[in-house]
Amino acid sequence: MTDDTFEPTIIGFTCNWCSYRASDLAGTARMKYAPNVRLIRLMCSGRLDPTFVLRALSGGADGVMITGCHPGECHYIEQNYKALRRFLLLRRVLTGLGIEPERVKLVWASAAEGAKFAAEATAFVEEIRKLGPLNWGKADSGQQTVDHEEPSTVHRPSSEVEVPA
Amino acid sequence: MPQMTDERVRAGMNREEDPSLLHEVSMKTAGVSHLEMCIQCGTCGGSCPVAMDMEHTPRMLFAMLRAGMREEVLRSNTPWLCVSCYHCVVRCPQEVHIADVMYTLKGMAIKAKLYSDSTAPHFSQTFVDMVEAYGRSYEMGLASRHYLRHFPLRLPSMMPMGLGMITKGRMTITPKKIKHLDQLKSILHRAKQLELTS
C-alpha cells in the first residue's frame, strides 16, 4: 500500500555522544535529508526504555529510529549492547502486537558519520512510506483529516483517542 | 572544424560555452562517473599508454568539458584512442570512471557526427552490426572488412598474418549464429528505444 501523499512521522532517539553529534554534523555540513524525523536526545541508547517506543507509535508516529554509538564505541563502555538487546526484544513484542517490526530501526552512527545519519534517516522514511501509515489506536475509519491549520506536510494523526502507553 | 570557433573569438565574440555539458556527460555515463570531482592532477594523462597519439590528454578533455567546449571535445580523437586499460581509472585519486566517460563521449560524437577522421567509429559500428546479425562476433569478417576499407595499403603486409591465422585454424571463415537471435534482437530493439528516451 504505497500512497504518494503519505508523509510518515518518525520519532528518532539519539544518544548524546555519537548519534546526536552525527546529526549535528549533518547539519553543519548542510547535508539534506528527509524532514520526517523528529529527534529526542538521550544520554545513551541504553537509556531507551521500550515503552518510549510504544508511546511514540501509539501516539501517532509511523516509525521509530533508535540510534547510538557503534558497538564497542559507547561513551558508557557497553550500554549500546543493552540497547541492541532491547531492540531485538522490542521487535518481537511488536510482531506480537501485529505491528510490522520494520517500523523500528536501529542505526549505529559515530560522531563523524553525519552522512550516514542523513542517509539512514532518508532511507528509513522511504521504508516507512512503503509500509504506509500505522494508524495505531485509531478507529477503522482510518486517517482523520489533518488539522487544517497545520501545513499538510506535518502529518498529525488524529489525537482524539489517547492510548495509554 | 575547430577553427570556426576560434575565428568567432577573434572577431570579438564569445566562445560558445555550454555550461551543462559536464553534467550531461556525467549523467550519460554508466555507473556513477564522479566526473565533477576531477582535480586536474593529470594522473590519467600520465598513466595513458597511448597519450602520445592523443590530441588531448584525458585530463585536458575534462577541463574542456567543464569549459563547455562541446564541439572541440566531440571532435577530439582522444576517446577513440582509449584502449580501455583502466590504468587511469584505478589510479585516479578522485575515482572518476574515466574509461566509461570515454565510451560516453564516443557515443555522443557519433550521434553528433563530430568525431574526427578516426576509423574507430566505423570499426565499432561494423562490430555492432555483426553482433546484431549473428549474436557472436566474427573476427575474419571484421578484420578483413575493416582493413579493406581503411588500410587497403596495409592489407598486403597483413596477408601473411591473416593466412597464418586461417591455416592454423584460428580464424573461422564462417560466422556462428546464436539460437535465439530473435530474442536478442527484440532486447536490443527495446534497448535502443530506451536509449533515445534517456
Partner: protein, 669 residues
Amino acid sequence: MSDQKQERVGVYVCHCGTNIAGTVDVVDVANWAAEKLKHQGVIIAREYKFMCSSLGQELIEKDIKELGLTRVVVAACSPHLHEKTFRTAAKNAGLNPYLVELASIREQVSWVHTDKVVATAKSKAVVSGAVSRVIENRALDEIKVPINPNTLIVGGGVAGIQSALEIANAGFHVYLVEREPSIGGHMAQFDKTFPTLDCSACILTPRMVEAGTHPNITLLTWSEVTNVAGYVGNFHVTIKKKARFVNEELCTGCGICQEKCPKKVIDDVYEAGLGYRKTVYTPFAQAVPNFPVMDKENCTYFIKGTCKACEKFCPTNAIDFAQQDQMLNIDVGNIILATGYDLFDARRVSNYGYGRLPNVFTSLEFERLSNAAGPTSGNIVLRDGKTMPKSVGIIHCVGSRDKNFNNYCSTICCMQGLKFAHLVHERTGATVYNFYIDMRTAYKAYDEFYQRVLEEGTLFVRGKVAEVTDAARNDREKGKLIIQCEDTLAGKQRRIPVDMVILSSGLQPRKDAKEVGKLFGISCSMDGWFTEKHPKLDPVATMTEGIYIVGCAQGPKDIPSSVAQGAAASARVLDKILQKEVSLEPIKASINKEACSGCRICNGLCPFNAIAFIADDMVSDINPALCQGCGTCVAACPAGAISGTGFSDAQIMAQIDGLLLKNLEIGNY
C-alpha cells in the same frame, strides 16, 4: 500528571541571521507557539535575530524577572553549542539553569531541509516537544568536584614536550609518558626544519633536556597507559612501565653496553629502516633519558641464554636481566594526548615501486639519509650506499588527497618536498624535479622558501605522477628510474629518467589511534584523527572534559602548529587547575528505596560499578560519585524505582507527545 500550579513558559525563536530564518518562518513559529501552546503555559513567545548575543540573552533575563517565567525554551542551534549560554543567562536572572531547554531548529532543521513550509512545520513540532519536556524539568544543582592539580601528557614529541614544559614551569606537576625509549618524537629524526632550515636537533635537544631534568616533570619513557578511569579533575590512570633491563638508579648512560653488545638489528623506528642499532640501545646520542633499553625480542641472552656482554662490561652493574614490567597508578586532573602520527606506508601505492625498486625512498628515509648523524653521515647516496644521484625526482601527495588512500591533504608534504629539493641541490648538485598537484605553501615565510627553491633551479612539474618504473623504452632510460606523468601545464605526457625518487609521503593517524581513543573516551573522525570539541573555536579540547589533544594526534600539522597547540592545551589545563574545582552536570540516576524490590537486575548493568546491593535493607543503591548518568538502569528497572535527573521518564514521555503534537488539544499535563 503534573504539578497543580501551571508553569509560566517563555519561548524564544532565534533567526541566527539567515541560518534559521532563511529556511524557517521564525515569526510563524513564535506566533504558533504563543497561540497553540498557550494552554500548556506558554505566556510569551518571541523571535530575535541572534538569541545568543548579549541583547538576546538580556531579553530572556528580562522576561524571567518581569514576567516571572518558570521555564524557558530557546529554539536555536544544537544544545552542544549554546545550552551553556542560555543556562547561564537563566541563572543570572535567578532561574535554575536546568529549567531551560534548547530546541535545535538549526542543525536539525534549517540546515538539513530546504522546503520552507516543511521546515517551519517541523520546527513547530520540535518547539512543542521542548515545551512539553521543559515543564517536566526539575531544578537541579550542579555538582562541584575538586581538581587534582597533576597532569598526564601522553606522547613525548615536540607537542607533548611543549605542553609539559608550559605546565611544569607554571609550578604544577606533569607525568610525561612516552612509548619509545626516548622523548623527541619524529622531530628528533629530522635533519633540517622548514622554512628556516634550522638544524632540528639544535632546537629540539635543549627542550628535551629541560623536560628530562625539570623538577616538576616525571618522565616515564618506555611506558604505556593501559587504563583510564574517573572523570575530569579525578582521573585514575594505570601506566605500564616496561622492563628496560637497565637499573635507572645505577646507570650513568656511559654507553659501554651498547658498544660491547655484539648484535646489530635494523632500526625500523628511529632510522626508518635505513640503519642499524644494537639490541641494548639508546635510539640516538642525545636521547632523553640516556639510559638504554634492552630489546628483549632480539637480545642474544634472551634468545639463547648466553652472552651477557653488556652485563660483564657495565661499570656500575646497572644491567638487570631480572627486571619486570611495572604497573604504576597515578591520579591526575587533566590529560593531554600528544600521540603524533604514523607515516603513510608508501608500499601501498604500488605504481610508485617503493619496496620493489631500490632507489625509491620515503620522506623519513630521506630525512635519515640527509642527517649528519644518520647512517650515511649525511651523504645523499643511492641504496648501494655510495653512488651520489645525478638526478632526483621528488613526488608530492603520496597517499594524500587520494580516495584510494587518504582523502585529506597532509599539510606538510609540499614544504617537506621543497626542503628535500633544497638539500639535494645543496649537497649533490643533482638536477631536481618536484612533481606536485597544487603547491601549498601557506603560513609565514613558507612561500618565500618556495621562491628560493625555484631560484635554485629546481624543475617543477605540475602533475600527479602516474608511475615510477624501471622498464626502459630506450637507451636514455636504461638503468634509470623513469617517472611517468602528465605535465599538465604543458599538456603532454612525459617520461623523466632519474637516479633517485623521494616520496613525500603523507601523515596518517597512529595505527592504534582508535584503541587509544577508546581508552581515553574520545572519538576519532572518519579519517582516524582524534576529534576536537569544535573545529574552529575549540581545537585542543575534546568532547570528554579534561582530555585535550595536541599536535598531529588531532590532524596533520607542522612543527610551529604543533608547538602552538601544545602551549594552548596547557593554558586550558592551567585554567582548570587554577579554578580548583569543576562543576559536573547533575545528570545522575537515583533509586527510590520505597519502590525498589531488591531484584538486583540493575546491579549488573552498570559499567561503572556504581550500583551496589545493600543487604541490610534488601535494596540497591547508587553511588552518585561513580554514576555517569547513562540511564541504562533507569530504563531497565522493572519497578520503575530508578529515576534519572535531567532525562526522566516524565520528561521524555512528555517530549514524545509534544513532538507528535498530542499536547495541542489535550491541555495541561
